[in-house]
Symmetry: C2
Subunit: 143 residues, 2 copies
DNA sequence: TTGCACCTTAGAACCATTCCAATTTGTTGA
DNA sequence: TCAACAAATTGGAATGGTTCTAAGGTGCAA
């Protein structure tokens, strides 16, 4: 059994779990993501997919990507679609995006933790900044 | 000495450090950010600033915000301006954006570290996901 | 077979951001 | 003092990633 077939079946299973169909477009988009793992943009996926499926549309690529993300097969790296937000808090802190209210809260970070996080970088990676973003629900929301 | 005056002076100092001028627009934009720390968007800053400076333009608000970010007085929370990128790697990992090449690299994370990061959330914050993004230069870049 | 929900498609619309050319403002040193 | 130059602001147009919409296609289920 080829890898492509195997992937397609795993995909079909995951889609079925969510009550969704497997389609040629969804299969090819997923194959493209698995084949070259360089975090492509939707446009890049579109370009790659067209060689195997020349009639696919960009709208479908966006639809498929969203479907794959919802099935937990793919992760969207910068998935904040809204406008940039600005923060004058200069202490080391993370951000918590409340998906219900749309509000963004500061979460103080012990600088010791930031160091620990940065220490996971292999040699050769020189980070100028680290950004930590939580997403979820704030039940007893702070201010 | 009023708080506003003090802030304006601190701002002027920081701007001078970068060889930049203090202007009424920059002062008011900074005041607005300090006054209500709710991570406003550029549009929201624009709306708030207009009451004190009715002739300011949206382009200037963007310019001022960028200036404040560059002076390290303000942080841009979702400062990835480019298109969303997609990743089929399902293991827990962070992302490293190489600012030179524009490439995004996966950085494996010990799940123990992810737990430690999540444990900084105060009671009442229920996170569904955590995203960690490094930015910098990869000298001996992996693939 | 027919109905119907799901899916894809092309192109228009949207909207945050950036660009541009013109003007205003501030600084410098003749 | 003022001319020259640089820095900053302004309004509007352009950009570009993403989403929307309306129309057509596909495949399962009764
Ligand atoms: Mn945002
Ligand atoms: Mn991106
Ligand atoms: Zn913040
Ligand atoms: Zn990744």
């Amino acid at each position: 059994m080829s890898t492509a077939t195997h992937n397609a079946e795993a995909l079909a299973q995951k889609l079925a779990d969510s009550g969704l169909r497997s389609t040629p477009q969804r299969e090819v988009v997923y194959e493209v993501l698995l084949k070259k793992r360089d975090h492509p943009t939707a446009d890049e996926v579109f370009a790659r997919v067209k060689s195997g499926l020349p009639t696919i549309s960009l709208a479908t690529v966006y639809n498929c990507l969203e479907t794959l993300v919802q099935c937990d097969l793919v992760r969207a790296v910068n998935f904040e679609r809204g406008p940039t937000r600005y923060c004058p808090n200069l202490r080391p802190h993370a951000h918590f995006h409340d998906e219900q209210t749309g509000k963004t809260h500061d979460i103080d970070l012990p600088s010791e933790l930031l160091e620990k996080v940065s220490s996971v970088l292999p040699a050769g990676y020189d980070a100028k900044s680290v950004e930590i973003i939580f997403r979820g629900k704030a039940t007893k929301a702070a201010h």
